[in-house]
Amino acid sequence: MTDTHSFTEEERQAGEPEQISHVVVRFAGDSGDGMQLTGDRFTSVSALFGNDLSTFPDYPAEIRAPAGTVNGVSSFQVHISDHDITTPGDAPNVLVAMNPAALKADLHRLEQNGLLIVNSDAFEGRDLEKAGYDHNPLHDDFLAAYRVVEVPMTSLTQLATEPLGVKPRDAERSKNFFALGLVSWLYSRPIEPTIEWIGSRFKDLVKESNLAALKAGFNYGETSELFDHPYQVKPAKLPAGEYTNITGNVALAWGLIAAGQLAKLPIFLGSYPITPASDILHELSKHKHFGVRTVQAEDEIAAAGMALGAAFAGHLGITTTSGPGVALKSETTSLAISLELPFVLVDIQRGGPSTGLPTKTEAADLNIAMYGRHGEAPLPIVAAYSPAQCFDAAIEACRIALKYRTPVILLSDGFLANGSEPWLLPDVATLPDISTPFQTEPNHVAADGTAEYWPYLRDPETLARPWAIPGTPGLQHRVGGIEKQDGTGNIDYSPANHSKMVHLRQAKIDGIANDIPLATITGDADADVCLLGWGSTWAAIDAAVQRTRRAGTKVAWIHITHVNPLPPNLGELLKSFKTVLVPELNMGQLCRIVRANYLVDAKPVTKVQGLPFTSAELEKAIQEAIMQGAGS
């Protein structure tokens, strides 16, 4: 915890909270311990309190991994701050470990001399064994590098709930609220919103038990003298306005709903459950009164097929999934390219290949998004970069799909999907109109003078074809995956026509470059080193660039939201730097694209651990690049 200098001895004596600028707390426990919920509550209260924040839920793929094992550890990291932040923090300042396994899994993340709060009741025989400890780390100097606070949370919760008639075994399940109460006291978070929340969420004895545990934890902080005083993180000086705390998946789902409203089209979502994308299906399914139709399809192929069928019928057709599902949707996406219909494929990336790391983040689907189809099959790719920005990214993906009658892939990832941040709510009235008219009249006159409809007669500017939907008299037409003649849309296998169509489909996508924002440089345009980022690396790059510049070193940063086509000025900008670094949660997929496109000697900075970059890692990469540049 930093910035303690302003705290006087008198204030300390008075039990006043010490003001700190920010803190990173990590709640870690068994999957069954309710750590996600605990973290979520701490976050919500901090958001209401007015802090800037960023969260990082980190949980196992198994619903119920063997209890007490390291594999079953579920953690939630939250960074709260009195100033603008973007990352959930590199190293937690505080680790709450509910059992030995949580300690084992997460201790290495805790900063040196960090505060370690442990549920000492859990540090016994079997639990130690299951976590793989052959000693009790609380009983030797194993934890000497940290400030350890032992709290017998299980037994204190049992004591607090016993008068209610709660059995000791059941009381176990409330101990996360004890932890929440304790940490709430420590960081001067009000518990009233959580009391209200418990009241609305639980019933009867469970409700009473959770309330008793929460209050007991809070009071224990105040009376136990384990900590000499609480801390407080003041509200952040964020731009004025109305805020909500939002996760990437909810923001993305709301963005899709907004897109439907802005396009004046009903939304059709075809989806098949898959982590970490399922929450978008859940969220959209709740909002049918926006004219949203959702179908949980039999598989991802069907989900995509249904969305495409709905698009043919005049809806905004959307399908949401993660990597394995993207693979299954490949053939349908190719068909959508051939049909030239609007269609949005949302990929919430996770670690791959195959099942890989279902609950961990990675951004290694850029290649499949770019190239994962048969034939020459280009499509636009939009990448979201922060939880709240998923809202705008979703609208942008739909805008492009509708305007250019093309499938669009929208990339997000597990880190954005489940992470949250405060979002300055946009004025709904200022959101763009993305509506696009259906064709209602014939668009061509045949040689004999009759009016007819040519489904592939393009808009000369966008190269988009008209969208005539069933029910429109006189515009009956057939589309299909077989190569067709430009204009008429009739089947045409001829060599010259195929060449023309391949080039047209490419030109249409390339042309979108003129309809997206130019790339801009953040930081020092005259620096030697420029970072090129896309997607969720934004947070860590932002923090690393700020720190580097605060330390007096020049560095530049370009973050792109349109990965295909790339902003038209990107090549030129990149060429103006001595060194271009491309940090990616993959093996250098964007890096290879920019090298190939611009013949720039861009260097990859890669991480494939199922975790986001820390800002320290990127700071180091910047330093190294600067040193290497200076040496050459």
């Binding site: 958001a47 069907a302 097929g305 249904m306 043919f312 068909l335 709904v428 057939r478 089947i491």
Partner: protein, 341 residues
């Protein structure tokens, strides 16, 4: 759009300007003519009609209909058509598919469209072969069949398409064949009238790769003794002067008998509206090969809510309850706080 006054159409209105490219003599022609001849009778508009197909010879069908249409991808037509039908319950949506398309690569989508009871009229052209890819065996090819991919004879046990559909509890299941336009039209008419998923298997001759596959049943000489015409509410009889019939034995098995031996009263009375699909299933299994008497007509026709309408109803109910979607309110639904100037 369904309320607009429908102009009377003629067969010509349903024929597109595209050149039909099936092999001369292919059974697909007969089916197409039956469909095109039927459409004017249905009192629907060409612009409100959509044909969706997968891939295969049969799946070229939509190109030849002057309606809206999509030739989609191999096996996926039921999924694409589900999207159309759910988005637009006002449309008349037809699916044209082959035995490989529907039962091999697309088996999953077929059973789920049937299970959900999506308002589709599904025409499965069963020629017991892969036509478009030039003659490999299909999931309906009989065991022992010699094809390019089974030079020593197929060892696969075939699907009976009707058993599959009934197993999925399809609400309308029927069979017809490409040589009898009148029969096809009557079955298609009933299939179209049924709300929900209607499944029709059509015996279709591929004269190039599997010629005469159904001759032993539907051939002119064989018909009388080999085709069993199912009529709802009537005892199941066939053969010259109806001398044969179907009874259910005490073991629950269906058997073919001489009516003279058991008496007419012992015959099974066909009931397409039975809620339980068990008897329809037994009828579908009555013939195990192409050389035994085979039932045709409507096996099952029971009412059940159609999926697209039910999805739409939930949208309507939600709107009635919550009012039309308000984006401003949605963005504030998770709780907000103000940061002052």
């Amino acid at each position: 759009m369904s309320d607009t006054i429908v102009p009377l159409t003629t067969k010509k209105d349903w024929v597109s300007d595209q050149e039909v490219r099936w092999c001369p003599g292919c059974g697909d022609y007969g089916i197409m003519h039956a469909v095109q001849a039927l459409m004017p009778e249905l009192g629907i508009a060409t612009e409100n009609t959509v044909f969706i197909s997968g891939i295969g010879c049969s799946s070229r069908f939509p190109y030849y209909m002057n309606t809206y249409g999509m030739h989609s991808i191999h096996g996926r037509a039921p999924a694409v058509a589900t999207g159309v039908a759910v988005a637009r319950p006002d449309l008349d949506v037809w699916v044209v598919t082959g035995d490989g398309d529907a039962l091999s690569i697309g088996g999953n989508h077929l059973i789920h469209a049937l299970r959900r009871n999506v308002n589709l009229t599904i025409l499965l052209f069963n020629n017991r072969i892969y036509g478009l890819t030039k003659g490999q065996y299909s999931p309906t090819s009989e065991t022992g069949k010699v094809t390019k991919s089974t030079p020593f004879g197929s060892i696969d046990h075939p699907f009976n398409p009707l058993s599959v559909a009934l197993g999925a509890e399809a609400s309308f299941v029927a069979r017809t064949h490409d040589l009898d336009r009148k029969h096809m039209m009557s079955v298609f008419r009933a299939a179209h009238a049924h709300k929900g998923a209607s499944f029709v298997e059509i015996f279709q001759n591929c004269n190039v790769f599997n010629d005469a596959a159904f001759d032993a049943v539907t051939g002119k000489q064989a018909r009388e003794e080999m085709m069993i015409d199912l009529v709802h509410g009537q005892p199941i009889r066939f053969g010259a002067d109806g001398h044969k019939g179907v009874v259910m034995g005490t073991d629950g098995q269906l058997r073919i008998v001489e009516v003279a031996e058991v008496g007419e009263a012992a015959l099974l009375v066909h009931d397409a509206q039975r809620h339980d699909p068990g008897l329809a299933f037994a009828l579908a299994r009555l013939s195990h090969d192409d050389h035994s008497p085979t039932p045709f007509g409507i096996f099952r026709d029971v009412p059940r809510g159609d999926y697209g309408t039910m999805v739409g109803d939930q949208v309507l109910q939600a709107s009635a309850k919550k009012g039309p979607g308000d984006l401003r309110a949605l963005l504030r639904s998770g709780g907000t706080w103000m940061v002052g100037d």
